[in-house]
């Protein structure tokens, strides 16, 4: 049998060079050859006999009570249902069935026609030919089309199918076949095939069923001038999957030999199966694995064969076969492999993105299709979260430079935030959230802030941290896009080709402003609720490290100071790192502001003096607190009545947060003291301040890697290591004219 098979396949290859009619003849010849082969080889295998019977049986043989037929059918049936059928058997049986040589058993044959390896395309071409004869009952035709769609990825190559594209297209007018035909066309369509403009016009007047719209939108992507009708920007519900007739069998076969049959059929089962939702939910999450089940030798022998994506193992291979790669019917399967993603990046094929988007919408909004209620957002729950389409899409987004906004995910996210419990698929959701394109400030509250607020304040510390982090990433992405895409004049930037919205610079700045202020609020209250937890604080400081550099790094003329609710906890934090980072941030602010000040003259933008004043206040406070102990004194930001301070019984309270006595640094001070005067019994920190020791102490601190602090001191305090009496070390050096 195997020999016969090889011979047959090689035959097919020959045939596939030639045009259609030849090919069919060729395949007939191939069958004949196969016959001869058999006669020589086998000692009367009943199975082969059965095949022989089916290939040769005369038309019009009665089937009622035809025992021979019954026996043979049973033979093949069992073969099909247990192991699946080899290609040439498929073609024989399909031919037999579609030709209606014996009328009735056609449906039964289709039901057990399970390919073991591949489906030879000639078989299908011939079947379509029979379809054109049109003796077959509509229901049977539908069944056949379902069959084709189900096993589409197992068809060895599609070029001949494409060559009869027109024929197939004509069936669109059959309203029963229309959905299936549309799906088939949708899978077959290539850019180079849309030259017969005529039929597209014949299509447009028809009803606006989703399947038609999908097809049309695909055409529109290929050649917009052909499709005149206006299409909605988003389409609900992709094509259905049509696996039901074969479901049971496929399940059985999969149980027996997993991996034999394409697992994207498993996906289709899931999606199709509306009956019990639990099953559907679990199933349809499994991503189709790349599998078009094409023999390697086939593809290598001649150049026109497709190269199956799942056989890409290395990048060079990808480069060699770029021109021969087919997109699979289940676009989702692309998300599985990194090479496939590379391919996607390379081709930059709009149709591919379109199809991916449809697939995604289909996967995410699965629940909607299941229910008449199109609004509540349903993300099916999976036990193994890694196989949810969301995760894979997320992986996809991460693996590439995220320029395409996939609106299906955006709308999904905005809905999902409203019913999110804060734990389900957290990393994925937040990750995707951080990738959404800039939201116009008009609806940013509505879409993002409200739901996030409600989640943020009623959740655990870790959730708060990850939210802040997510927002930080989001800001970074936005700024990057801005710096990449902003046109020279800096006023009008169109963010990317796929998100519908174009933004003016001011609009963009508003959104960013909103975002920063929002995080400021979150951080303030969050820190308060969590008792200034240093973990949260560090995430907040991360965010402000991004904020303080907006002008210099991303030339966005916008500087926003942190709110007091963030500033004070950082300044009086018990861990030196936070203080250090705060110092660093302040330095960056200083540099940005000074730079902005110089540019303000020639540029139109303007940074409000309010910001400068705020900055100065902070600056002054920090210096007077850390450096020259003038905390709580009149004129400072924080003023406290003396008597009150006296009540607290703290010796010289104004000096209680200097670099020596600051709770974050006192440890170092003690350490230093020990190092200097190991013999001393009585601890006296004042002595550290004195003369040289002070410089040494600072060096000591810097040597522990508090570079932020170092920068701060060096930039803000004209303090000369030579003559180090800190008396003239007045905290000044603020940017001129606050």
């Amino acid at each position: 049998m195997a020999k016969a098979f090889n011979l047959l396949t090689s035959d097919l290859d020959v045939s596939s060079e030639s045009d259609l009619s030849v090919s069919s003849r060729a395949s007939n010849r191939s069958l004949r050859v196969a016959e001869k082969e058999r006669r020589k080889s086998e000692a009367e295998d009943p199975f082969l006999l059965a095949l022989k019977y089916f290939s040769e049986v005369k038309a019009g043989t009665p089937w009622m009570g035809n025992d021979v037929l019954e026996r043979n059918l049973v033979l093949v049936e069992r073969m099909g249902l247990t192991r699946g059928l080899p290609p040439e058997v498929i073609s024989t049986m399909l031919d037999y069935a579609m030709s209606l040589r014996m009328g009735a058993p056609c449906v039964r044959v289709l039901k057990f026609l399970i390919p073991a390896t591949v489906v030879p395309q000639e078989a299908i071409v011939r079947a379509v030919a029979w379809l054109c004869v049109g003796k077959i009952a509509i229901s049977t035709q539908v069944l056949f089309l379902k069959w084709v769609l189900t096993f589409f990825d197992m068809i060895d190559s599609k070029d001949h199918l494409r060559s009869i594209y027109g024929f197939i297209f004509n069936f669109v007018t059959e309203e029963h076949l229309c959905p299936y035909i549309c799906h088939l066309l949708y899978l077959l369509t290539r850019k180079d095939m849309l030259h017969q403009r005529s039929f597209i016009f014949s299509l447009s007047p028809q009803g606006r069923q989703p399947f038609l719209l999908h097809l049309l939108s695909l055409y529109k992507v290929f050649c917009p001038e052909l499709v005149t009708t206006a299409l909605p920007s988003k389409l609900r519900g992709g094509f259905k999957n049509h696996v039901t007739p074969w479901k049971g069998v496929l399940n059985a076969i999969q149980k027996r030999n997993t991996g034999q049959v394409t697992s994207d059929i498993r996906l289709t089962i899931g999606v199709k199966d509306g009956s019990n939702s639990r099953k559907r939910k679990c199933n349809h999450l499994q991503l189709p694995s790349l599998n078009s089940a094409v023999q390697r030798n086939l593809s290598s022998t001649n150049s026109r064969k497709v190269f199956p994506l799942e056989q890409l193992h290395s990048f060079p291979e990808l480069l060699d076969n770029l021109h021969r790669i087919e997109l699979p019917s289940q676009m989702g399967s692309l998300l599985g492999s990194s090479l496939a993603l590379c391919y996607l990046d390379y081709v930059q094929d709009d149709s591919a993105f379109l199809r991916l988007n449809f697939w995604l919408g289909h996967a995410l909004h699965e629940g909607k299709k299941a229910s008449p209620y199109a609004q509540n957002c349903v993300l099916p729950v999976s036990t193994c979260q890694n196989c949810s389409p969301l995760c894979l899409f997320y992986a996809y987004v991460l693996s590439r430079a995220p320029q395409e906004g996939f609106f299906s995910t955006e709308s999904f996210l905005y809905k999902f935030l409203n019913v999110w419990d804060g734990s389900l698929l957290r990393p994925q959701i937040l990750g995707l959230l951080s990738h959404i394109p800039v939201v116009p400030s008009s609806c940013i509250h509505q879409l993002l802030f409200e739901p996030l607020m409600q989640l943020f304040f009623s959740s655990t510390l870790f959730f708060k941290c990850s939210v802040i982090e997510c927002l930080n990433d989001m800001l970074l992405k936005w700024l990057t896009w801005h710096s990449v895409y902003s046109v020279e004049d800096g006023l009008d930037i169109s963010l990317n080709s796929h998100t519908p919205m174009n933004m003016t610079l001011s609009g963009f700045m508003d959104s960013v402003m909103e975002l920063v202020l929002f995080v400021g609020r979150l951080a303030t209250v969050g820190l308060q609720l969590e008792g200034c937890s240093s973990l949260l604080l560090s995430f907040v400081l991360d965010f402000y490290e991004t904020v303080c550099d907006m002008f210099l790094k991303f030339e966005l003329p916008l500087v926003v100071m942190p709110p007091v609710g963030v500033f004070y906890p950082a300044l009086f934090a018990t861990d030196p790192v936070s203080v250090d980072r705060l110092c660093f941030i302040m330095c960056r602010y200083k540099q940005n502001l000074t730079a902005a000040k110089f540019q303000q003259q020639e540029h139109v933008f303007h940074i409000s003096s309010q910001t400068y004043r705020e900055f100065n206040r902070y600056q002054l406070l920090m210096v007077s607190t850390l450096w020259n102990s003038r905390l709580f004194q009149p004129g400072m930001a924080v003023e406290v009545d003396h008597n009150l301070l006296a009540l607290s019984k703290v010796p010289e309270p104004s000096a209680s947060f200097t670099l020596i006595r600051h709770p974050a640094f006192v440890g170092y001070a003690l350490d230093f003291h020990l190092k200097c005067w190991p013999e001393r019994k009585d601890m006296d920190l004042k002595s550290v301040k004195a003369g040289k020791h002070w410089e040494w102490y600072l060096e000591f601190l810097f040597s522990h890697g508090y570079l932020g602090l170092q920068q701060f001191v060096q930039s803000n305090i004209n303090w000369h290591p030579g003559s180090g009496t800190k008396s003239q070390g007045q905290g000044d050096g603020q940017p001129t004219n606050g």
Binding site: K234, S277, G367, K368, A370, S371, Y373, Q375, N376, C377, V378, L379, V381, F407, E410, S411, Y414, K415, N418, V419, W420, D421, G422, S423, L424, C443, Q446, L447, E450, M453, Q454, F457, S458, S459, T460, V525, Q528, L529, G531
Partner: protein, 185 residues
Amino acid sequence: MSLLKPFSKLPELNTANILLVENEEQFQQILAETIVLLKKNVNVNVRLARSLPLPIENEKFRPRIDLVVFIINLTSELSYQSAEVSLKFLDPDYFLGKVCFLVTNARNASVPPERLISVRKLVASLHCPLLFAEDQMTDGVNTAAHRLLAILKVTSGHVPMATGLYLSSLTRCTVPSDIDQQNFD
């Protein structure tokens, strides 16, 4: 009819009491067990009720209740209605940040969207926070328990410088107008 009052009793030391109201008593039970088992520095008493008003006879054993949680299962109209009815038996003072709503099955496909909307409207009109919970999954339940506990700690005054009213002013539910429907559908 007897109102449940938040300040009629004195608080006990290091205790916080939460009342879960759900008319079908499945999730209530699980949630209660999870909450009680959570690691925490105050000892928490959970009281389960099917609906308000609470029976008079255990009036005097009942401690001061710091947080009332109405659990609404979106798939059943009944549970929504019973919650709505129970609200009437709650002293107005409770709505100063000592009430919150927990909705389950919000993502269920068979839920008519109007119901979710109406729940939102109700909660928003009461200025209460509205939480969602995945009652099918264990860590979903855990999260819900954690969040309720977090709120409870605030409302029972175990978090310095924060009160229930303050928190609920930040987390109160809002009814999304249909902007997103237009823009993003």
